[in-house]
């Protein structure tokens, strides 16, 4: 394969270089119905799962068909999306903040054909390419991160557990049977790329073994002071070690103090945490972001450990299904998962879901832990 230059000249990097031009202006890409009714929308309605209409004061209507996306998309897949948009939507489309794709048309009679076309397209193994849904009081797409596809710190994969979970929750994606929206998110490590920490259901990768110490390279490659400073629990101390006869400047880790955050590894590649048995999935529930009715809140840890059982993480998907089913059956209309758990009391949450409670779930991290303990005689017997 021959190298083809773009025109860039390494010898003169600044030669007619263009910088700081920013992104394209959004309105370049608005379909006519959006451009003409920008800021003029009166109301919307969800006609069926995944199909929305927005009505403008001009009388115009915008029909949206929302389809699930894998987020990790090949250009071949994207070109197919373009082909559909050209065929039905005058060559425009959009992506949502949860990685779904939205096809918009300006009249009702274009919807059926579009939808039929979308649902007719399947992958070799029978998976839908463009499942329609993810709207209203249902379960929409799972926002997630890189996992084993691209990142260096994950404690679990991202795309794998997401595929497995969405397969299990598929009925909820294509319907609106939940008391309220249920937002599921995944982050493959504590860095929590995404709003995982405020999700109705959060799937989190977590390490459970302290970093390995590659002393030789710690000495050679790492800024030891940075690694030491990175540790939130001050578990890392400088240490002189002997490896194969040679004295090395390295570090030692007080394992009991380690909370497996991986921050040292972020600073120093010679302190990897990844481990086949150690790495696991943590489930957190009850977070929310919207200010609707109640204030936004963080998700709470309800399952401290589930194994990375590839390729389909059955323990994880079972636990999630169970939580979703109990919530759907027990919560009030409009009640988010976290609001429900708070209303019935977390002790009842564990009773109803049958999830075991253990000391791991009691906060013991820093001063604010106190505020999560119970400072009243009010509780329910379970």
């Amino acid at each position: 394969m021959a190298f083809i230059s773009s025109g860039y000249n390494p010898a003169k990097p600044m030669e007619n270089r263009i910088t700081d031009i920013g992104p394209r202006k959004p309105d370049e890409f608005f379909p006519p119905v959006i451009k003409n009714n920008y800021g003029k929308w009166l109301y919307h309605e969800i006609l069926e799962p995944g199909v929305l209409v927005h009505v403008s004061e001009t009388g115009d209507e915008c029909y949206t068909v929302r389809v699930g996306g894998t987020r990790l998309m090949s250009v071949s897949h994207l070109r197919e999306i373009c082909e559909i948009a050209d065929k039905h939507c005058d060559g425009y489309l959009r992506f949502t903040t949860r990685n779904n794709v939205e096809f918009m048309v300006d009249s009702k009679d274009k919807v059926a054909a579009l939808k039929e076309d979308l649902l007719s397209r399947k992958q070799a193994g029978g998976c839908f390419k463009f499942p329609v849904g993810g709207s209203g009081a249902g379960i929409t797409n799972i926002v997630h991160t890189q996992g084993w596809v691209h990142c260096h710190t994950p404690a679990t994969d991202a795309s794998g557990p997401v595929k497995a979970t969405m397969d299990v929750l598929f009925d909820e994606f294509t319907s609106m049977k939940m008391p309220a929206k249920v937002k599921v998110s995944l982050a493959c490590c504590l860095n929590m790329c995404g709003a995982v920490h405020c999700s109705d259901i959060a799937i989190l990768g977590y390490h459970r073994k302290p970093p390995l110490l590659d002393h030789e390279y710690l000495d050679k490659m790492c800024e030891i002071p940075l690694a030491i400073a990175a540790c939130p629990t001050a578990a890392i101390k400088p240490a002189k070690v002997e490896v194969g006869g040679q004295k090395l400047n390295s570090v030692s880790v007080k394992n009991e103090r380690c909370m497996f955050c991986g921050n040292c590894y972020t600073m120093c590649p010679s302190m990897p945490l990844a481990d086949t048995e150690g790495d696991c999935v943590v489930l957190m529930v009850g977070g929310k972001i919207s200010n609707r009715v109640s204030a936004p809140k963080f998700s709470k840890v309800v399952v401290p450990y589930l194994p990375n059982n590839t390729p389909r993480w059955p323990e994880v998907t079972d636990a999630i299904k169970k939580i979703v089913d109990v919530y759907a059956a027990d919560a009030n209309k409009y009640e988010r998962l976290g609001d429900w758990a708070e209303r019935i009391g977390w002790e009842k949450f564990f009773e109803k879901t049958g999830l075991p409670f253990s000391h791991h779930l009691i906060d013991d991290f820093r001063d604010p832990a106190y505020y999560t303990w119970r400072q009243t005689t009010q509780f329910k017997f379970t």
């Binding site: 230059s5 773009s6 270089r17 263009i18 910088t19 920013g22 992104p23 394209r24 202006k25 959004p26 929308w41 919307h44 309605e45 969800i46 799962p49 929305l52 927005h54 949206t64 996306g69 894998t70 990790l72 998309m73 090949s74 071949s76 994207l78 373009c82 050209d86 425009y92 489309l93 959009r94 992506f95 949502t96 903040t97 992958q123 193994g125 998976c127 839908f128 499942p131 084993w148 691209h150 990142c151 260096h152 795309s159 595929k163 397969d167 609106m176 929590m192 709003a195 990175a230 990844a274 972001i289 919207s290 200010n291 609707r292 009715v293 936004p296 590839t310 390729p311 820093r366 604010p368």
Partner: protein, 439 residues
């Protein structure tokens, strides 16, 4: 089709209703093998197959096989590229390098097929042909290329596509926003416009690391927070209003009478029984500021906290007010290291109209100056506010303390009085004191 590596584990993810990323990667691998359009691939054509191979290995080992990213990037920029190398380059030469490029998405993610197609052509030609649409921050993520292609890609983006990179590192990160006025009746702020405006205004901060750590802006048109700004941006701008909710009594009656579907039909797949305006709206209103007398809906706006519930349930009867602007919240971040933070309300209400000078000069820039002055390395704004206290933030911005900034006043009485606030000051003479108080 036969691929370079066997992937028995991944293959099990090719069934079930949800789209399979495995099948999709294979599709791209296949198209590269076939290469029907005779593309002069600028990176190892096995790149997709080797990705499948190394991913299969991770599924076996249950461990990532990506190494720590080295510092790679394009000349003059401190962000936009995440370096990545695999730890088994001999086995998987196609992904020996697998750098990602963050391309600044158009605000609220509308595309013309022409532009999206052009991006595909470029990425098929100079990268893996695999993307994330989109990354969690909002960027178009080009997933996997080699170092020698970085400048080439940047050159083509800027010269041919009039498109710049997004942020990474200790920069301003790529701002993002909800769909807002483009297709939402509730937008109290022009989210696309302010998002684009801020992105252009702060290009230098976005491309050249000058901050103690990353910094994020997000723009939500209303308190529903569809871009989750309140949970994940150092400064969240959330549309709101300070006048009255607009009421269409006829429509309200229609909802009460069951003629209109509640919540725009969001609960339609299940029989929740007939709509009960008292139970579903009045009683759920967190401030109890609404009443329904069987004919008329009344609403005491002075008590309303604009939570959006009633509006969401009866979109055709209720609409946000017309004297709109935004609330600004500061400090949201993920848990690393001292625990997550939600954005804290620092400006209850401010007008948000182009060119947004008041917001830039009175909110953004004073806060940046303070953070750049006082922030430690890798200290997020929220952590600085916690460390130095909300008072300090008020000092540097000159905001007046108002009760809206707190959920409740302090319960500890430990007020740090300043000497100038206390009559007589702090300098006192012990001997004078001892005249009245013997030892």
């Amino acid at each position: 089709m036969e691929f370079k590596h066997k992937t028995p584990l991944l293959d099990q993810l090719e069934t079930g209703p949800w789209p399979s990323f495995v099948t999709d990667i294979k599709r791209e691998a296949e198209s590269r093998k076939k290469n029907e359009n005779n593309v002069e691939y600028q990176v190892n054509p096995d790149i997709c197959e080797d990705l499948l191979g190394i991913l299969e290995l991770s599924f076996e080992h249950k461990r990532t096989h990506w190494k720590h990213g080295g510092i790679v990037g394009v000349f003059g920029y401190g962000g936009g590229v995440i370096g990545r190398y695999c730890d088994q380059p001999e086995m998987f030469p196609g992904v020996a390098h697998f750098h990602t490029i963050r391309v600044n998405q158009p605000a609220s993610k509308f595309y013309s097929t022409e532009f999206l197609g052009a991006l595909c052509d470029l990425w098929e030609f100079r990268g893996s042909g695999l993307t994330n649409m989109h990354g969690s921050t909002g960027d178009i993520v080009f997933l996997g290329t080699f170092t020698d292609q970085l400048e080439e890609i940047f050159y083509e983006l800027t010269h041919n596509l009039n498109q710049d990179l997004g942020g990474s590192g200790s920069n301003l990160r790529t701002p993002s926003c909800c769909i807002g006025k483009a297709r939402c009746e509730w937008a109290c702020m022009d989210t696309q416009d302010i998002c684009y405006n801020f992105t252009m205004e702060y290009q230098d901060e976005l491309h050249r690391p000058a901050f103690p750590y990353k910094f994020k802006f997000k723009f939500d048109g209303c308190p529903n927070c569809c871009v989750a700004s309140i949970a994940r941006s150092d400064l969240s701008f959330i549309g709101t209003w300070r006048d009255k909710i607009r009421i269409d009594q006829k429509a309200a009656a229609a909802y009460a009478g069951g003629e209109l579907a509640p919540n725009g039909g969001a609960h339609a797949s299940r029989d929740w029984g007939p709509f009960d305006i008292q139970k579903e709206v009045i009683d759920i209103c967190p401030t109890g500021c609404m009443a329904w007398d069987g004919k008329k809906l009344s609403l005491n706006d002075k008590e309303c906290t604009r939570c959006m519930h009633c509006i969401a349930v009866m979109p055709r009867a209720l609409r946000p007010g017309v004297d709109t602007g935004c609330s600004v919240l500061a400090g949201a971040k993920a848990p690393i290291l001292d625990g997550a933070q939600m954005g804290t309300l620092i400006v209850p209400f401010i007008k948000a109209e182009a060119p947004y000078d008041e917001i830039k000069e009175q909110v953004v820039e004073p806060i940046w100056d303070w953070w750049m002055e006082e922030g430690k390395n890798r200290e997020r704004l929220g952590e600085l506010i916690k460390r130095q206290g909300m008072q300090k933030l008020l000092e540097v911005t000159g905001f007046k303390a108002v009760p809206q900034m707190v959920q409740e006043p302090r319960s500890n009485p430990y007020v740090f009085w300043k000497e100038e606030e206390v009559e007589g000051g702090w300098k006192r003479d012990i001997n004078e004191f001892r005249k009245y108080h013997k030892r």
